[in-house]
Structures are given as C-alpha cells and as structure tokens.
C-alpha cells in the first residue's frame, strides 16, 4: 500500500490537491455555490488529465467546498452549502459576540479531523461499510428523516408549538412541484415559476440570509464586533475547544462517515444528526444554540467525514453516496474508468492513489483553511455596512440563480426570505422550516415506497415497525424528542421544592392579535393543501394531506392556548422599518428588471441602490464615490468569474 502513497505524492498531485482545496474553500464559502457545482465545473478540465490526478483534484475541491460552507454560516448566518446548516446554530451567535475568528479556526480543525476519519474509513473499511449501508432501506430513510425532524423540539426558540407549525410549513413547501413518487404536478397553482419546486439551496439562502440583511440595514450598529487588536488564528484556544469536545469530535466524525456512506442521505443530514447528538449529551457554560463551540465541532467534523464516507458506496458499489459523487462517477466513466464492484479489484491502483490523495488534500486543508478563513473573517468584520449589504445581497442573487440557472429561483429566494423574517419576528424560528424543507422529500419517498412494499407483502405493520434497524432509529427519535422536556418532566415528579416560576404578565392585545393572524395564515395554508390534495392520486396526496391535518390540529391547539394563557413568544424589532422594506423591494425590482437589462446591469444597479438604505449617518462625497466604485468593482469581478470561469449562463438582456 505504501507504493500508492508515493504515487499520490508526486509534485503534480500535491499541487493539484493544494489548488483544489483552496478553490473549493472559496467556492464553498459563497452561498449558492455548492460542492456539486464546484466539481461539475471541473469535469471538462479533467478530460485531459490522468484519471488519478483528475480524481485527486475533484476530491480536493469537494472537501474544500464542504469546509468553505462554514464561513458564511458563521459570519453571515447563511450556510454556504447545505451541509453547513447546523453550523449556523452556534457559529453565528459566537461571531455575534465577537469570537468569529475563533469559530472559524474551530471549524477548520474539526473539518480536518472529520475529513481524516472519513478518508481513513474509506481506506480501511470501505467494502464492509458499503455492505452495511445497503441494509438501509426505504423505511430506514423514512425514520431517519423523522429523526432529523425531532430536532425541532430543540430548535424552536421558546415555543414548541410554533416550531412544529413551522416544520409542517417547511414540509409542505418541499411538496410543491412535480411529485417524485407519482409524477403528478402538485400545489403549483398553474404557475410555471413553481413547477420545479422550491430549490433547497436557494430557499436556504433566502430563509437565513435575507433576514440578516433586512436587520442589518435597520440599525447603525456594526454587523459583528471588531476586536481591539489582531489576535492571529487563536489556535491554542481552538485546540482547547477541540480537547474539551473530544468525545463529540470522534462521535460526530463517525456519524458523518456512516451517514455519508448511505446513498441518499448526504452532508446536510449528517451535520444535523451529529448536532442533535452533541446537543443532547452536551455540557458547557453556554447552552447549545446560543453559541456553544461544540455545535460547530459536531457539524463541521460530521460534514467533512461524509466526503470519505460518501466515496465508500461510490467506489465499492458504483452508487453515488452524495450528489458530488454522482458527478465524479460520471467523469470517471468518460475517462474510461469502469466504476462499480470491479473498480476496487481491477482498478486498485487508481483507487488507493486517490484515497491517499484525498488524505493529502485533507491535511493541506489545515493551513489553507486557516489562512483563507482568517481572510474571510477580516473582510466581513472590517467591511463597512454600506459595502457589506450590497455585496452580500448580490451574492445571494447570483448564487440562487447559479444553482439551477433559473431566474424564478431568485424570486422565490427573496420571497421566502421575507416570510422567514416575518415568521421569526412572530416567534417561529427559521430552522424548523428548513428542516421540513430538507427532510420532507426524503420522508415522503421513504414513506410511499415502504407503504407500497408493505402493501404488496400484506404486512404494513411489519414493514414500518418490524425491522430492527428501524426500531433503533425510532428509539433514538423518541429520546431526542423527549430530551429537551426532561427538566419540565422532572419538575412534575418532584414536589415543589423551589417556587414555581412566576407567571409572566399576559401579552398585550396587539401581540395576541398578531399571533392570531399568524396562526390564521398557517391554518389557511393547511386548508388550501387539504382541498388541493382531493384532486390528486393517492400516492401524491397521502403525505401532504397527513401533514396538513397535523398542522391544522397544532394550529387549533396553539389558538386555544393563546386564549387560555394569553402568552406570546415573539421577537420584537427595533430600528427603521422603511430601510428594512427597501432591501427586499430593491432586490425584487432587480429580478424583474433582469430579463430586460440583463443580469449584470440589474445586479449592479441593485447593489448600488442598496448602499443607500445601508448607509447610516453622513458620508462625504468622495467617501460615497469610493464606496460605490469599490462595490461596483467587486460585483463586476464576481459577474465575470461566474460567467467566464464557472460558465454560468447569466441571462443577457436587451442592453448587454
């Protein structure tokens, strides 16, 4: 095996790994540019390469992109790739309190560790793990999705019922478009815009990033606290965090490897499962969800472990473990490399050279990731608000376009962003919506497939509840659901030693009214779905109908509770409303103008217009000019990079 190590370590391969990791990290850090896309862009470049070098380059860019997703998650509360969703839960609160640089270093160390665990598992345990992954059938995917949803209990800030309603809303959003299970068109209301469904990545960008932008312009406060003096990488502190989280680190890396090896799960689920487990067993001064570094450790080690894990079914079975693996498989096929079971036997040369290349790339990610992370941190912390807002807004627009080369997705992204902002002000946090959106399709497919198989065998009960692996996941789900309520349950059984918490004063009529309206809207959505499912065939109807009915029940309970106890949990907003409204308004205007004036000009005008609401206080004429030129320059560079380097077909207009 040592000879493969040496063939991986040629100067060319080292250079490719280095470049790949750096390029991947930068691409991954831009919301909307996913690892899948980073790899797909490379495919034509690899035609002229040796298969092993091509694989090393693609593996390096993939692993870099998964790590790069952490930057935007930590610094902007926007997962750069779906794998980094759970990184936002604690990463952003840490950055808010001024420790963004520490969070980025922790993310880097965790990613490297997770990546190494995944790659070593690939090297030593690939064939048995691939066999194990095959035991995972439709029922298990269904229960895995339900397990992921059990995180709602933990993620709904303060109000569990609102969390469930938000999750139901997310689940219903994921059902829009052409049904995967029955090929039927659902919930598009005749509109072509919704035909392709809600694209997950652009929805993530909208739900997480647009609310941040809206709140950024409202007040003159800085985005993140700027440290008084430069503090370097803060490696010793980051190392301490890793040691404090060593069990978490190892467990999350193993979860990531295993979930990565399941075809059809992927980095986002691995991160969520690892986060859920870390949170349940987590200790520390700061609770999870409010800035505990353990949350970053769990998610980032798990999602990078899926890289090596995902290659297990890809290389052993010829079945892609994650979406980027599908692209890599395709590229290999064009190269003339036969993938599938024969690859490990006949193509051992390529396979082992590649695995050592992947290990090499993961190790190189340590220095590369720390340096780029430092740069990203400084850029975000030091940028004046009037420069940051337009550029980030432009990135959300170009990113949500690039994912499917579709203008409709930009509009959907902005609208969802506004919905997310309003919902969060009413005490519905965004994360349950996102969980529903991501897990909905997996849950529905698993459910309908299991139902079909169980019905064919005349054993529905045994299909859903009779398989040992399913029972294990169900047990984990129950624990995860109940755990956040343990303190309340304990209080029930212990006679009141302490004073019961004093009842807070009832909320104002205005707030109660606002909550009633919100519940009414969600109830109406549930009713519309119920009515619409009547015209669908059973396979397309069963899942959304069940969710809609559940949602209506929860809404009814929430309304009843509101009348009984008059309590409202919400998040008051301060600052300028007109500035707030201007952000989505300007962005939507730009989307409408795009087909007339072209993407580049619309994007540029949008960014320049956004300087106005983002600028607080007086600014000198020269200052304003410099700012405008800087913003325009960065946007032109981005536009050029997307259209020329990444060959994204940005739509031209009449003028350009």
């Amino acid at each position: 095996m040592i000879e493969y190590l040496f063939s991986a370590l040629t100067p060319l391969n080292i250079l490719l790994a280095l470049m790949g990791v750096a390029a991947g990290t930068i691409i991954g850090s831009i919301p909307g540019l996913t690892a899948t896309m980073a790899v797909a862009v490379l495919v034509p470049v690899t035609f002229s390469m040796q298969p092993d070098s091509a694989l090393i380059l693609m593996g390096a860019i993939y692993t870099g992109a998964i790590y790069g997703g952490a930057y935007a998650a930590i610094l902007l509360n926007t997962p750069g790739t779906p794998s980094a969703i759970a990184t936002t839960f604690d990463g952003y609160p840490i950055a808010k309190r001024g420790d963004g640089d520490l969070a980025v270093s922790v993310a880097c160390l965790s990613s490297v560790f997770g990546g190494l665990v995944g790659a070593i598992a690939l090297l030593l345990l690939a064939p048995p793990l691939a066999e194990a992954a095959l035991a995972f059938g439709p029922v298990e995917y269904f229960w895995l999705a339900i397990f992921g949803l059990s995180l709602i209990a933990a993620l709904s800030t303060g109000d569990f019922l609102k969390g469930i309603i938000a999750a139901c809303f997310g689940l219903l959003l994921s059902m829009i478009g052409i049904s995967e299970t029955s090929a039927e068109v659902r919930f598009t209301f005749g509109s072509n815009t919704l035909l392709g469904g809600i694209e997950t990545v652009s929805a993530l960008i909208g739900l997480y990033c647009i609310p941040v932008l809206i709140d950024l312009v409202a007040t003159p406060d800085r985005h993140l606290k700027e440290p008084e003096q430069t503090r370097g990488f803060r490696l010793p502190e980051a190392m301490q965090e890793m040691l404090r989280n060593k069990v978490n680190l190892v467990r999350s890396s193993l979860i990531g490897t295993m979930v990565g090896a399941l075809p059809g799960a992927g980095g986002s689920i691995a991160g969520l499962v690892a986060y859920s487990e870390a949170r349940r067993s987590g200790k520390g001064d700061v609770p999870y969800g409010e800035g505990n570094p353990g949350g970053i450790v769990a998610t980032e080690s798990a999602n990078n472990a899926t890289v090596g894990g995902g290659f297990i079914p890809t290389l052993v079975l010829g079945i892609p473990g994650t979406p980027p693996d599908a692209v890599i498989l395709g590229a290999l096929l064009v190269q003339g490399v036969r993938t599938g079971p024969t690859l490990f036997a006949d193509g051992a040369n390529i396979v082992y050279t590649f695995i050592f290349g992947l290990l090499l790339a993961t190790v190189l990610m340590l220095p590369v990731g720390l340096i780029i992370g430092r740069f990203a941190y400084r850029a975000i912390v030091r940028a004046p608000k009037a420069g940051l807002v337009p550029i980030v807004a432009f990135m959300t627009v170009i990113g949500s376009f690039a994912i499917r080369n579709n203008i409709s997705d930009i509009g959907i992204m902005i609208v969802l962003g506004v919905i997310g902002w309003i919902a969060s002000k009413r005490g519905f946090s965004v994360s349950p919506i996102v969980l529903g959106l991501i897990l909905g399709r997996i849950a529905e497919q698993g459910f309908v497939q299991s139902w079909t198989i169980g019905d064919a065998m005349d054993d529905l009960w045994g299909q859903f509840f009779g398989r040992p692996l399913s029972l294990a996941i169900i047990a984990m789900t129950l624990v995860s659901f109940i755990y956040p309520f343990v303190p309340q349950i304990r209080r029930l059984f212990r006679p009141a030693t302490a004073e019961p918490a004093p009842n807070p004063a009832p909320a104002s009529l205005q707030k109660i009214g606002a909550d009633l309206v919100t519940f009414g809207v969600f109830g109406a959505i549930g009713l519309v779905v119920l009515v619409q499912t009547a015209g669908l065939n059973p396979e397309a109807a069963v899942f959304p109908r069940t969710i809609a009915m559940g949602m209506l029940v929860i809404v009814a309970i929430a309304v009843a509770r509101l009348f009984l106890i008059h309590q409202v949990i919400d998040e008051p907003s301060t600052g300028s409303t007109s500035r707030r409204i201007s952000v989505p308004a300007i962005m939507l205007l730009a989307v409408f103008a795009m087909s007339t004036v072209g993407f580049a000009l619309a994007g540029l005008l949008m960014a320049l217009a956004l300087i106005v609401p983002a600028q607080h206080g007086r600014i000198s004429g020269t200052g304003a000019t410099t700012l405008a030129i800087a913003v325009a320059g960065i946007i032109l560079v981005f536009t050029f990079g997307f259209s020329e380097i990444l060959s994204v077909p940005l739509p031209p207009g009449q003028i350009f």
């Binding site: 439709p138 079975l317 599908a326 395709g330």
Partner: protein
C-alpha cells in the same frame, strides 16, 4: 414575470437573429448544450461523452450546462425562449416529453419541442441480484403467477421507461407485480442490492456498472446488446417489448430549417465515430439514429401512442 421574460427573450432573439445571418454554418462558435437535469445522471454522462468528439469533428466547444427541475419540465418549458441561431441546443428524453404534458400543466406540450436527433437509448431490462433464485424470465413469470402482487420491482420514477415497461410486461404476461418508484437509477439499484425488492426494472447500463453483482434476465431490444451477448431479448422470449429511455437533442422552435438539419447532421457525425460508439456500448448504452424530418416525426408518433396507452393503464395519466 413570465410575460416580461418572454417579451425580453423575444427581443433578445430578434437581436440575435439580426446579427447571426449565417445561421446555416453550424457551429459558428461555441454551442451551449443545456441538460434539463442535474449533473451526474445518464443524460449528463452521455452529453459528456459527446463533448470531446464534437470538439474533434467541428473544432468548436460544446459547453454543457444544467437547468434541472420538475424532472426536466423546467428546462423544456424554457426551450423556445432561447436563441434559435444554433448556439443553444437542449437534451430531450423519451418518454418524458410525451408523458409530462399529459400529467398536468408543465409549461410545455410535446409538439412545442423541435426534436432534431435521437442518438441513443438505455434499453429496459429485468435485473436481479446474482444470488437470486430467479434465473430466467420464465422464473419471473412463474413466481409472479404463484404470488400475485408479491413480486416487487424497483425502478426509476413513475411514468418513466422502467415503469411503462413493467406495465406492458404485466399485461403481456398476464401477471400482477408491484412497482416501487425510486428517485433515479442509483436509488433503484441500491434497493435491489440491499434486498429491499426482489428485482428491478432497470436499464442495460445497470448490468454494465454492476458487473457480476447482478444478473440481467432479458433486455428490451431488437437484438442482443453487444456488451451482453448471453442475455436474451424479450422478443426472443415471445414478448414484443423494445423500449427504454431514449435521449436526443432539440433546438428552439425559432431555429431555421438549415440550422435544424445542421444540428441533426452534427450529432449523426458523432454517432458515426467508432471511438464514440465503443465508449457508449461499453457503458451499456445502445445507439440509435433518428434524424430530423419525417423520420423523427414518425418515430415520436409511434412511440407516443404506446407510452400514452401504458401510462393510462398504470393510472399515471387520466
């Protein structure tokens, strides 16, 4: 928004046609090849196979990009708003472009698509695990007759080639089997290998990829696949099934007759290249040559009637 988009696209198109007066000499520069699916699928892989041969034969780049969504519907519904000067071509798939518009409003009708060439198909095939006790198509039929409904097949999607083949076969053999739809061939193969289902309605490409982990019992081709000389066709065994997922190329409806012919000829030239043929056959694909014009019209008309009848029988369309 749709209207402004269309208006702008129409305007952009007039501008484009005004500048490109020499529409006849295809390709006049790099050609954008839009795949209405995500990267990594068979539409993508075969496009990637064509890429280097296009460059070799015509000296211009064929740039593959993706416009996924709605199982291809998003891309196809936007095809006719693209420039018709030969700089844009789009991948098309059968039975998708026939079945989708029948299921509801998907933004396009089958007749809206100007198909210029069909270049290959992945023939349907019944696949079982290597350790399965079913060794022939007769075993499948015997098992299905003895255990109505209990023989489960995985397959890629509903209303797809796999699904319609299962419906047709059930009718011809007088059996009742259960079809479980998965998202894509990868997931359907996973379910087969993991023992979640007894067999798969898959494609010959599954046999090429999975090698001796699986056994193909019959393929839906006119004659045996060159890469699998030992696997009989359904026809040999008395079932007149020749089917699969056909893939080809379409151009926007605004393309001139010359452009349509030129694109058709270019794809035909790639199909005629021995190196291309070898790659495709090794991968388990089967080449077809259906060129633009009367040949294409007849081909689509003939396939459509069969697809629609099967889809109605399966309850996919009303």
């Amino acid at each position: 928004m749709k209207r402004t988009f269309l208006a702008a696209a129409a305007a952009a198109f007039t501008l484009a046609t005004a500048t490109a007066t020499l529409a006849g000499d295809f390709p006049s520069g790099k050609v954008d090849y839009v795949i209405p699916f995500g990267p990594g699928g068979e539409s993508d892989v075969t496009a990637r196979f064509q890429q280097p041969f296009f460059k070799k034969l015509f000296g211009e780049d064929l740039v593959v990009s993706y416009k996924p969504g709605g199982g291809g519907a998003v891309g196809w519904s936007q095809l006719n708003s693209m420039a018709g000067d030969g700089t844009k071509i789009m991948g098309i798939n059968l039975p998708h472009i026939v079945i989708k518009p029948e299921t509801g409003n998907v933004g396009f009708e089958t007749d809206d698509i100007t198909s210029v060439y069909m270049f290959h198909y992945t023939p349907d095939a019944i696949v079982v695990r290597a350790d399965s006790d079913m060794n022939s198509l007769q075993d499948v039929i015997d098992y299905a007759k003895a255990n109505p409904k209990k023989l489960t097949f995985s397959g890629s999607g509903k209303g797809t080639a796999n699904h319609l083949a299962q419906v047709n076969f059930d009718q011809m053999a007088g059996t009742t089997t259960t079809y479980v739809s998965f998202k894509g061939t990868g997931a359907a193969v996973t379910a087969l290998l993991g023992g979640q289902v007894r067999a798969e309605w898959g494609y010959t490409t599954v046999g090429a990829k999975q090698g001796d982990k699986v056994r193909m019992l019959a393929v839906a081709m006119e004659s045996r696949h060159p890469a699998f000389p030992d696997v009989p066709t359904f026809k040999e065994l008395g079932f007149d099934i020749v089917s699969g997922a056909y893939r080809g190329i379409a151009v926007p409806s605004s393309a001139s007759e010359d452009t349509r012919k030129a694109v058709s000829d270019a794809i035909a030239a790639i199909n005629a290249d021995a190196g291309f043929q070898k790659q495709m056959i090794d991968g388990g694909f089967a080449l077809v040559d259906v060129a633009y014009g009367a040949e294409m019209d007849a081909f689509i008309a003939q396939k459509s009637s069969g697809y629609i009848a099967a889809a109605k029988a399966a309850g996919v369309i009303k």
